[in-house]
């Protein structure tokens, strides 16, 4: 599977990244080099292997079953103080003091 400039442009679009033509050329070469190494995974037959997304439920609560595996992550649903509006907005590049401001969302 060879990655082309077109693939990189498509993925960059999905990721909301803008690449210069030079960056794009370099990215095609780097991606092909990395994916060439990654193709090694096809040596393994994994048709009957469960995927592993996270290790906590497998090990921290290995003795528990079903939804009980995640019992450690449950807590009472109580209202607690969070960040104040002023603190939450503090790092934003543009606000009106109440909300984040962004350029026009809908174009005519």
């Amino acid at each position: 599977m060879k990655v082309t400039e077109k693939d990189v442009a498509y993925v960059a679009d999905l990721a909301n990244l803008e690449l210069t033509p030079d960056e794009s050329t370099r990215m095609v070469a780097d991606l092909n080099s990395i994916l060439g190494h990654i193709d090694k995974l096809n040596e393994l037959d994994t048709s009957n292997v469960e995927p592993l997304a996270e290790v906590v439920s497998a090990f921290a609560s290995a003795e528990r079953h079903g939804s009980q595996k995640f019992a450690y992550a449950q807590r009472p649903d109580e209202v607690k103080p969070g960040l104040s509006r002023a603190v939450a907005l503090f790092n934003a590049p543009d606000t009106d003091g109440t909300c984040f401001k962004v350029p026009k969302v809908i174009e005519r």
Binding site: V8, V11, I38
Partner: protein, 483 residues
């Protein structure tokens, strides 16, 4: 001991704390002595991005008042520490080594930082790292690279390069780092210090700027194994702010130091000693293994057969998670926005283009590609399945041994610029460290002598989930063994 005769580079938690407790030196004087070292020598090392003097001196004064009153002092009273700049420190600049966050002021403290300060530690500043913790040499910092204090023409490792260099250079007694694929252990090995990656979930990730959430660990870098054990006792534990933090009792890890290792079964995985390993590193590690055998450990050859697949799995899983985590950097909430963009889509793109460095973009593209329609099964799902196989390798090995010993890195610290043009060569440097992140087991890197050029060699111990106790016990025995 007074300020002049103090060897700042040899301070440990115990020696620093006892100076403050006995009032031979105040916590303020101790902090100032470190700031003076930083200002005279960090110009050539580059380990700090931000100094947090206000924060440090307020804490040091508080500790000195306690000491004057003769009140009992907390476990890290007056100990000068520094924090990798991927951890939030309230009111201080926190950049993750990225242009994007150049002016970001953290709105709250990471749990690990809060716990350090509650235990009396004095946070001197924020440490340089690869951008968003992505890198193995610290050359991906958007600000400046870190130089290895043992040889300034060489890299300190990464991504916690500043954390390792600061400890090695005498700028802080201990530091916090983060480890997603080796980012604590590899720089510890390159700089000749101790780096401990706890079990996944052992230390809260609240306030850690996320790289790959299922692989990220917070942990200490120190001069001694005992100091890492002490810091782990302080920062470990369940945190309601991090739903993945484990509800597993925290041990008295420092008490493991000095305990008998006789009878422990140590696995030597043959896959970690194959082609590509520097012969000097192999010999240094084999000598340590002989030492453990003489101390009464049973040395067992084991196999972790899927090891060669770990790098491909890692670079799919880590980049996929990173591409999702870094979507939040969009020009809306976090300080940087490209000026004069007319539409929202344009603002997203231009802000991300200007804010992210080349390696971060490369990983976002790779991760997005692996998650995109048509490739998800071939790459992401496949990688998760092989992650299961890697986990089974460790489960099988741990039925017959208590821990395994491996190298940390295939080579000693390389030169700055040596691998920057070839991302795959840089990634292969993580070959002995990424598996522990994928499996979630704890690991430690500690010094194991020097090569013929005087450059540090590291040795790694990997243990069972939540069995940091055995890892620390063995590490301490190895540390004593080489003196």
């Amino acid at each position: 001991m007074n300020k002049r005769s103090m060897d700042i580079n040899a301070l440990t938690i115990d020696s620093a704390r006892s100076m403050v407790e006995s009032r031979r030196l105040s916590a303020v004087e101790l902090a100032e002595a470190h700031y003076s070292e930083i200002s005279s020598r960090d110009g050539t090392i580059g380990s700090f991005l931000t100094l947090t003097r206000g924060r440090a001196l307020a804490q040091a004064e508080r500790i000195d008042r306690l000491a004057e009153k003769g009140d009992p002092l907390p476990p890290l009273a007056g100990v000068p520490v520094a924090i990798k700049d991927v951890l939030m420190t309230r009111g201080d600049r926190t950049t993750a080594g990225s242009r994007f966050l150049d002016k970001f002021i953290a709105p709250y403290d990471a749990t690990s930082v809060e716990k350090l300060e509650a235990a009396g530690a004095v946070c001197l500043g924020k440490l340089n790292c690869d951008e968003f913790a992505m890198g193995s040499s610290n050359e991906n910092s958007a600000f400046f690279p870190v130089h290895n204090p043992r040889d300034t023409t060489r890299v300190p490792g990464g991504s916690s390069g500043g954390s390792a260099a600061a400890v090695a250079a005498g700028f802080a007694v201990a530091t916090l780092g983060s480890d997603t694929g080796g980012s604590i252990r590899q720089p510890a090995a390159f700089c000749g210090v101790v780096g401990l990656m706890p079990t996944y979930g052992r230390v809260s990730r609240y306030g850690l700027i996320a790289f790959a959430s299922s692989l990220d660990h917070v942990g200490p870098l120190t001069r001694t194994v005992k100091d890492s054990a002490t810091l782990l006792e302080v920062i470990a534990g369940r945190d309601p702010h991090d739903s993945t933090s484990a509800d597993v009792p925290v041990g008295k890890y420092s008490e493991e130091c000095g305990r008998e290792v006789k009878g422990l079964r140590i696995g030597i995985p043959k896959e970690y000693f194959g082609e590509g390993l520097d012969p000097e590193i192999r010999e240094a590690i084999e000598r340590r293994i002989d030492g453990l055998r003489e101390a009464g450990c049973e040395i067992v050859n084991v196999s972790l057969p899927h090891t060669e697949y770990a790098i491909p799995v890692y670079y799919i899983v880590a980049t996929a998670e990173a591409s999702a985590n870094l979507a939040r950097f969009d020009g809306v909430r976090y300080t940087a926005r490209s000026p004069q963009t007319k539409t929202l889509a344009d603002m997203y793109r231009r802000s991300r283009d200007e804010g992210f460095g080349a390696e971060v973009k490369r990983r976002i593209i790779l991760g997005t590609y692996a998650l995109s329609a048509g490739y998800y099964d071939a790459y992401y799902l496949k990688a998760q399945q092989v992650r299961t196989l890697l986990t089974r390798d460790f489960q099988n090995a741990f039925t017959s041994v208590d821990a395994v010993i491996t190298p940390v890195t295939p080579t000693v610290a390389f030169k700055l610029g040596e691998k920057t043009d070839d991302p795959m060569a840089m990634y292969l440097n993580d070959i002995y460290t990424v598996t522990a992140n994928l499996v979630g087991v704890p690991g430690i890197s500690l010094p194991c002598g020097n090569n013929h050029e005087g450059l540090p060699i590291g040795i790694q111990i990997l243990g069972k989930h939540f069995d940091e106790a055995t890892v620390i016990r063995l590490a301490h025995a190895l540390e004593q063994n080489q003196q």
